[in-house]
Amino acid sequence: MELSPPDIPTDTTAVHALLICEHCDTVHRRCPLARGQVAECARCGAVLERCRGMGANALLALILTALLVFAQATLWPIVTLGLNGQYVDATLWDVIHTMWIDHSQVVAALAALTLFVFPMCKIFMLGWLLLYARSGRRAPGFRRLMVTLHYLGPWTMSEVFVLGALVSIVKAHLYFDVQPDPGIYAYAALMLLITVFAGVDLTRLWDETSEDSP
């Protein structure tokens, strides 16, 4: 759907009824969206706003699920390899540790940050914010956490890792017996949860929570 171009605002309260496209700087008048509806910029076609079909409670439940699944994905082995009756499995920690001692510290650091540290920060920060947002309040540190979440955005790569694990299994299959372990299924589940969250417009938390609480 397209939004109508606004008139020039005369007073400051009108500013809240406006929306600026971050991709082309076009000013739009905000329209109420129905569930599942998406507002697109009339000039450049970027998504301006989407209405999430979920309340804070549902999102919190989803985040708690994500935390459980994330813990399993991190702690459980991902793949088991067998050759001549010997079996070896690897968890995410083995991956990071092996790369570190194999003189690829850059890769180890990249993997640790994008597969563990950043996703975990995201989950805990969102959980904390949603815990308060359920009652329309702003959690302590709301401002700083929301800004941090904005910058963390593109630096979590769990979904890339799932595909990477799949490729690894096929490659290793050329030489060894390979079988997927529970960790990889946890990662696949995490991938689904991430997809659901990707469709949620979290900047709306700014509007849905009240200013005066700490």
Binding site: H16, V95, W155
Partner: protein, 210 residues
Amino acid sequence: MSALPRAGELGLIGCPVCGQVCDAAGADGGALACPRCGSTLHRRKPAVYARCWALLIAAFLMYIPANVLPIMRTASLGDIDDNTILSGVVELWVKGSPGLAVIVFCASIMVPMLKFLALGTLLITCRRGSRWARRQRAQLYRLVELIGYWSMLDVFVVALLTALVRFGLFSLVEPLPGVVFFGLTVVLTMFASMCFDPRLIWDGKEDSDD
């Protein structure tokens, strides 16, 4: 039909972090902060061309050794085999699964190339104030942002295979320097696309027949 108004014309700035519509009136005296989230507001991101070109060129310089140097060594029964990104794709195509080979090829070769070409094109056309294919260029930028990080795929494959194969006697998988350069390429191109300001595409003269 009147043209769609832009924030600059109305004396407004949109906060890039929280989306707040801010009054740009106080911006003359110095840096302006978003009243809601405290982020610094700029009409356009600062020094887009200098920063973006620097990161893009650095990424491209990393991309050369990333492709020329091998990324992984597999050794089995005295037979040493060094794999580059491309030979890894070929091996996957021939012996493994062609479908996955296509995915790896897209993620590790097409996506970085697309990012170099797309960002380079955007930087050149925006500098010239070109009105050519504005909507398509805007879509191109969003595509680059969306798929950029999938190039990390091969880095994770090497990491996972290295961790898995620890039979010293029979076989050995070792990461080689190419994979480090490749990881750096991905990170640098991601920073480059973040430094770009898509609002520049729409600056300058308006299309009359819009």
